[in-house]
Homo-oligomer: 204 residues x 2
Amino acid sequence: MSNLIDLTHVMENEMPIFPGDDNFILKQDKFFDENKYNNFMLKTSMHVGTHLDSPMHMTKSTMTIDQYSIDKFCGKAIVLNVLGEDIIDYKEEYEKMIKNNDIVLFYTGFDKYFKAKEYFLKYPVITTNLAEFLISKNVKLVGFDTPSPDYYPFSIHKMLLSNNIFIIENLCNLNLLLNKTCEVFCFPLKIKADASLLRVVAKC
Amino acid sequence: MSNLIDLTHVMENEMPIFPGDDNFILKQDKFFDENKYNNFMLKTSMHVGTHLDSPMHMTKSTMTIDQYSIDKFCGKAIVLNVLGEDIIDYKEEYEKMIKNNDIVLFYTGFDKYFKAKEYFLKYPVITTNLAEFLISKNVKLVGFDTPSPDYYPFSIHKMLLSNNIFIIENLCNLNLLLNKTCEVFCFPLKIKADASLLRVVAKC
């Protein structure tokens, strides 16, 4: 029987925010004892916690994330074990591992720092070589257990997004997918924005 | 080859809101031409558009939606064709159709009024008899292409939620699932709230 694995951080008020971004604010405004029901109001950007960047985030595209086919957001996933690599480069072994239209996830193990200061300061990055390889392989989507595959001025973001490769940031638990064949579901909200908060689930 | 079908309304500023609830406000605050990236800020309740109510919404439960197992949010779905029924009652034929742990979706066709005034005023409801039957069958989750399975004081909501049956509201396109065997994915955000905005996808 297949097993479902949750690759998503909890969304709550104390969650860490990319430096400079607005805080995630979740506030209960109706209470069962008083109002006969509970309700919460949320104020947030879409680039918080586990989330998905579409090309519109850092290119001239004006196509909001609701307009993409849902086929874009699920499929066979390959997890690359890059634990301990500060600079994640192309490796020849990736040629056979990665196929056209795959979802490629990078296990860096950095999710253990999610609530620590260093999470946004010292995360590993991928090289231009590797980004070019992912583009040449025509992968569907890439995902990281870090805040980003690069730092300012975000040239890797721009390379991937301008080639229609979506980027998932702030994943967790990718170690549970190592050496397994998995399908990943990462359907964004059908929202008229450049990105979406996300629940990511693997079926292995 | 299986086919993915999107059962979700678009989330945008003009979307209809349950009477009395706060508006959904999505506002672009960063622009590619000026800021080198796009960003949107969202202010919303979780009970807007296609969304999922957990028991905490209308019971004494304090268990937020992030705490439930993800197995709760996918599985085999049965679509009941109740087009044209203002009061949706128990039918004997449902005994054989519905099994333990099924996701049960009600096709009323009412999603065609989503942007019209009558959407919140004249939607069909389910009977206490039918709710009792769904509880006796121990279904996993129910979903409607209407704003709610009942009106104030929401006794059906309370029956279902107090029996740990989650409720999806404001679905669409359920006609595309009639007479098909489908798996439904309706993973909520991993958020510390009583409900979640939702992307719902069927694989048929």
